[in-house]
Symmetry: C2
Subunit: 697 residues, 2 copies
């Protein structure tokens, strides 16, 4: 569906210009000089010929069909031009022109007009306000970039066009190549989601890179990315993380930045690798693009210097990779071959006087060791070092192997020629061991990602109609907030255990209920008008006798009436008191971009004071729920400390899955807190003590 | 004292060779070709002339005085050569030769021999097993490196010579310059500490960089670095952090790696900036070396692209810097000058079509704004961008200003010429905004460091003789472990409050004591032979009556005798029960490199399960104690949550200072735990409930 953006047979440039200072000239020149093999139609009512090509006054006048139109005219004329593209039945259009949503409200209106026209004619549209589209394999350079980047296995999309120019300039210097390059601009129509889907099965693209400021449809993004990442790595950099950063986003393209917690959860659930910096984005990309996937987490290191070997070891282990002991055969062979002072253990130190042959032999042995999944080759330019010869040896062995090899030739002046040689073999070089280690870590993370079971939400048996009925009832009364008995009904419909509890309308009734439930009990004022019960003394714990219950009833009703005059008082809820077990919080809020964001943490101070909370976007799988629980820093407390039995893990997972299902079934739930969920010892389940839920109004 | 390593009048190369493949040739050639202006004496009994210089059979035969000798002969001949240097009264010697401590036990012996000779003659020695010494200003290249690096304000020392070759190769490509370069090798004599001291007042060195695997004398390192860092920044990279990393260190130079916690604490206390990677080491260094210090934490950003501006903002805020609102005057002037679509707020977006003049005007306004302490200039190579002209503008304004300016010209092919221009003005360029942000963060961290009060331990009034006496007593009994009553005596001598407590030898005596102290009480078995009292049921809490006390006494004595046959039972300690307050742990262990490492954390699960502990090397200052308390993640719990009053901060600080003093006064204390220190509400002090202390045996 989007192919004609990248492999069109014919391209029209609407706004092609004779003036080399105009973008309309740059785009046409890029197409022509980039060697586009199809038909090229400059469109300009005031010219006859540009760059030796025949010019047409309108796309309507082009004799044959047009697959792709690139619009580079001032914004007031764009809608009419787009309308003509529609009439001409052009399937795909890139609007480079600016002056839309990014400028003001009127611009937003103009952009909506474009969307309407595109929809009407069934056209797909990239932009407006973008740099254009490049496919070096076609070759097609439908952009105003300064030249065509080398071709290669990296597909790149960017919400920022300017950042795209920097990336292309980096590529022009060599050592990185692209299969696709798209500047998305305002994303009026085509977004990251469409391109992910389009590039999923593209054989030319081994890895997909995304620079993103905001995702329009978070749930769809997760759904699509989740599938794509099973087949190829997707690495993203998300900007606008901190407070000022978010401000900068809104003033930039006007996209609404989702909260950091939601992005973190969503990327993780989608299997998207998050790069911490632009540099890391391309460091990771080169590993994925030019080397085989890392089949495990065990890295062999071959180095001619101890110090950098230590730095590499530190960085690898810090990132969760392992520096395995080499197998006895390898160690024996290395010991025989290497000089006495060398280290035959991993990291293998071939010593400062190692020439290319010694490197070659050591790398071959380590690379063939079954204990090793990938190899990092470190070289410092010492007096005897044969830099280029060693690079050839590294390259040849990497090409013969199905394990990834990353190089770290350190330095600049002398090593540069060696790095060029490595590059001929597709071996990425990193100037410092820490960066090579980070690339290996990304590769290892991706492997784990692919090993995860396919996402499958697990619907439990629940009673949707009963909850629907209750919500309707609440809303018909003009309320949006739900707690207490109503909340328990919902929880029971979703398979939660809740405390025994009944409403008492009189003090004597309260005593009867308490006797039935068994002491001690908890009592709470029951009123639809009192949200914060503790503030009005409306909660009493640990009531141990009929007198306690009677006194509590009278006092609470008296106080509630006094502090909240006019409140409807239904009486008191008498409730089983549950005190053993560990208190856990389950919550949900709606993220503007990703929807239901479910939170999990230990109750009390851990959530409040220590902000120790894990998030996932619902719906999520059993495995994701399990990971969520393990993610909190205070997880050790759930496993049990000081001889405590572990908390019932299964019950927590089940509770999370059911909340995931509840908030997915009912999009009108905008907020929800189960606080606490009392989790008992392993095998004994959990009980939802208290829930507050808010419906959209 | 060490000047002749760097500015000698005359240098002898012992082992100078005619064979260009030998290191002895490389060193002499480097000295000669590097333009060393003093006298150069090749020493070689088998040659008459090398590189046009007269050769002497021995240093003894050199006619004039020799300031520096460089030894590059096989290890068996080094001691004799060094002896001759001594006789010749050469003050400083660099031993490049390998074959010492780094190879085996015999090598270690040989190295000790060298140390002995150097001491005997009062010589200072760098190496052995090193690359050599370089001072580009002298100019002196007494190393076998591949050429002389450019001169500049960076002083660099490295424990790894190979890593040094990579650093020099990087320098040879330009954009970084050195004042000093030392490969320390095995550090038989001259160590990081000596060089820090020597370079402290060196006007040619604006920043000192250290690559270190292990520090020999941690206390001395802190003491010296603490002073140096008040005058100039010291940036260090410490390798051997993780488990395998440490292994690699020991097999490398045989230095004993201190624990990561100790290094973290020590570097922090010494004001040494820790670089997380080699790349960061030089990124920070270029900021410090070529730009003024950052006077605050407010960064102005000028960019021609929104996306990278957001990335910069994110990275800066994440690192704790601020993106201030610009003053109204600046905003007004920017609004007037810039086109309508530009952003006059920080980050200032001059738009993609900005030429050099627009950049210049915007940078000038932002740089002069009193709200701004430093400026980051971001450039993406867009169609209209004037890269070199903009670089000139940035450079000129940076030179006129006393605020630091860091550049981020993104890309490679087109921007490279611009980066060269920036470099002419001493403006460091970082290829990605995150790296420039990290450099600013390091500069800001250093500023805070310098603003700290000068380190001054605060001795309290304590009673050393009483503790000394007690230790003597304990040791005379053949014990090394101290707890209970003895521990309290020590704590009281150091100004701690301890619970009321007395030893009861009979059950009736226990009741009498309990009546006197007041119920409830705690009872503990008193026996020098029982270390883990709880394991034998030897601790009872919350005893509320004479019967409770009587029963507890009999039961504990019975059980202790049964479970630990032959144990000396002194009776039971009856102790005031303290239950209000927050439990805090103070501990100390001896780090092999830094000595007394004091730990602070919340008691119970926080330390045990969550590993939430802060460390400092004793002695430390009041401010350091305060920082230590604030450093733990669960600090919020000490401030008070859910309406609790804060814990007595002053009392915790005081306790830490007194422990710092105790473990400094008594180096024989190898381990100590106060667990818990019960901290009461603000103003109410703290009480040390339990202490265990172990003396060296």
């Amino acid at each position: 569906m989007l192919e004609t953006f990248f492999q069109p047979q014919s391209v029209a440039v609407i706004g092609a210009s004779r003036d080399p200072d105009k973008l309309g000239y740059a785009v046409l020149a890029n197409l022509k000089e980039g060697g586009f093999p199809g038909a090229l139609y400059p469109i300009n009512p005031k010219a006859d010929e540009i760059l030796g090509l025949e010019v047409y006054p309108s796309v309507m006048d082009v004799p044959g069909p047009v697959d792709l139109a690139v619009i580079v005219i001032p914004y007031p004329y764009v809608p009419a031009a787009l309308e003509e593209c529609g009439k001409k039945e052009i399937p795909t259009v890139v609007v480079i022109s600016a002056g839309f949503r990014e400028v003001d409200r009127e611009g937003l209106e103009r952009e909506r007009e474009l969307i309407g026209i595109a929809k009407q004619y069934g056209m797909r549209l990239i932009g407006p306000n973008c740099l254009g589209v490049i496919d070096p394999n076609t070759p097609l350079n439908a952009s105003f970039s300064a030249g065509m980047p080398p071709s290669g296995p990296i597909a790149f999309m960017s919400q920022s066009g300017a950042l795209g120019t920097a990336v292309l300039d980096m590529a022009m210097a060599g050592r990185i190549g692209f299969s696709k390059f798209v500047s998305l601009g305002n994303k009026a129509d085509v977004s990251e989601i469409d391109l992910l889907d389009a590039w999923w099965k593209d054989p030319a693209s081994k890895v997909i890179l995304i620079y993103v400021e905001g995702v329009p449809d978070g749930q769809k993004f997760i759904e699509v990315a989740r599938q794509v990442t099973r087949d190829k790595p997707v690495v993203a950099i998300k900007s606008g993380v901190t407070a000022s950063g978010s401000r900068a986003v809104s003033s930039h393209t006007g996209s609404l930045a989702g909260s950091e917690a939601a992005y973190k959860a969503a990327f993780r659930q989608a299997g998207v690798i998050r790069a911490p910096s632009m540099e890391a984005l391309f460091d990771y990309a080169r590993g994925f693009a030019y080397q085989p996937l890392l089949p495990g987490d065990r890295i062999g290191i071959v180095t001619n210097a101890g110090g950098p070997g230590i730095l590499a070891t530190d960085a690898l282990e810090h990132a969760g990779l392992r520096i395995p002991r080499l197998s006895p055969d390898t160690t024996r062979a290395l010991t025989e071959y290497l000089p006495g002072a060398a280290s035959a253990a991993n990291p293998v130190d071939v010593l400062g006087d190692a020439m290319a042959d010694r490197y070659e032999q050591a790398i071959r042995l380590v690379l063939h060791d079954a204990q090793v999944d990938g190899v990092m080759v470190i070289l410092t330019p010492q007096a005897m070092t044969e830099i280029e010869e060693t690079a050839h040896a590294v390259g040849q062995m990497a090409q013969e192997s199905d394990k990834p090899v990353l190089a770290c030739f350190m330095g600049e002046a002398r090593v540069d020629a060696g790095i060029d040689v490595l590059w001929q073999y597709g071996v990425p070089n990193y100037p410092f061991p820490e960066r090579a280690a980070a690339a290996f870590a990304a590769m290892s993370g991706y492997r784990r990602e692919r090993e995860r079971p396919i996402f499958r939400p697990e619907p439990s048996e629940v009673c949707i109609p009963r909850v629907r009925e209750l919500f309707d009832q609440v809303r018909s009364e003009g309320r949006v907030s739900i707690g207490d008995a109503e909340a328990w009904t919902i929880l029971e419909c979703y398979g939660f255990t809740v405390p025994q509890s009944r409403l008492a309308e009189t003090a004597e009734e309260a005593v009867d209920i308490a006797e039935e439930i068994g002491y001690p009990v908890v009592m709470k004022i029951a009123s639809p008008d009192i949200l914060h019960k503790t503030d009005v003394g409306g909660v009493r714990l640990n009531l141990r006798s009929p007198d306690d219950v009677r006194d509590a009833f009278d006092l609470m009703v008296y106080r509630a009436g006094r502090y909240v005059p006019g409140a409807r008082i239904w009486g008191c809820q008498v409730q089983q008191m549950v005190s053993s077990g560990r208190e856990v919080l389950l919550g949900m809020s709606r993220d503007p971009q990703f929807g239901p964001l479910v939170a999990f943490g230990l109750g009390g101070i851990y959530v409040e004071a220590l902000k120790d909370v894990a998030f996932r976007v619902a719906p999520f799988s059993r495995q994701e729920a399990e990971e969520m629980i393990r993610e909190i820093r205070s997880y050790a407390l759930l496993e049990g400390v000081r001889g405590e039995a572990p908390a019932d893990h299964e019950a927590m997972v089940e509770a999370l899955l059911r909340i995931s299902q509840l908030v997915t079934d009912f999009p009108e739930i905008v907020e929800l807190d189960i606080n606490p969920l009392m989790v008992f010892e392993e095998g004994r389940g959990a009980m939802a003590i208290d829930m507050r839920l808010v419906l959209s109004s």
